[in-house]
Symmetry: C2
Subunit: 78 residues, 2 copies
């Protein structure tokens, strides 16, 4: 079973990595990019017997994958 976790900085939290990408795109001639946010995506292979995979993956996010003070996460199963 596959699960995908997307972790992004919360709105309002400064994203220097995204800002750097925005500047670099401008320098390369890509006009019209008004904002960039960069986050991470984690793809998990789960053993098939996992009961309630969504709850399991959410627990992983809370304990390890996301810093919930400044980051939000989204879980997709399947």
């Amino acid at each position: 079973m596959k699960a995908r976790v997307t972790v992004m900085l919360k709105d309002g939290v400064l994203d220097p990595q995204g800002e750097a990408v925005r500047h670099a795109l401008g320098a390369l001639g890509f006009e019209g990019v008004t904002g960039v946010r960069q986050g991470k995506v984690i793809e998990l292979d789960l053993a098939d017997g996992t009961s309630d995979p969504e709850a399991e993956v959410r627990a992983m996010c809370e304990k390890l994958l996301a810093n919930t003070v400044i980051e939000s996460y989204r879980v997709e199963i399947g």
Copy 2:
């Protein structure tokens, strides 16, 4: 207009960051995670007048956002 780019290491390319996450999950008692791959997600705000946003974002990927030797990317618009 929003665009989302997901960049992952290609299959077969060693992913030490993903491996580290897998080990850490095991140490935290999450059994049954058989594989982890970590990538990045880049959310772009594009000016509304952008013609052919998908081609534009693909050009950004080829030039800056992805290292196409070892990474693959996926573009979603809207």
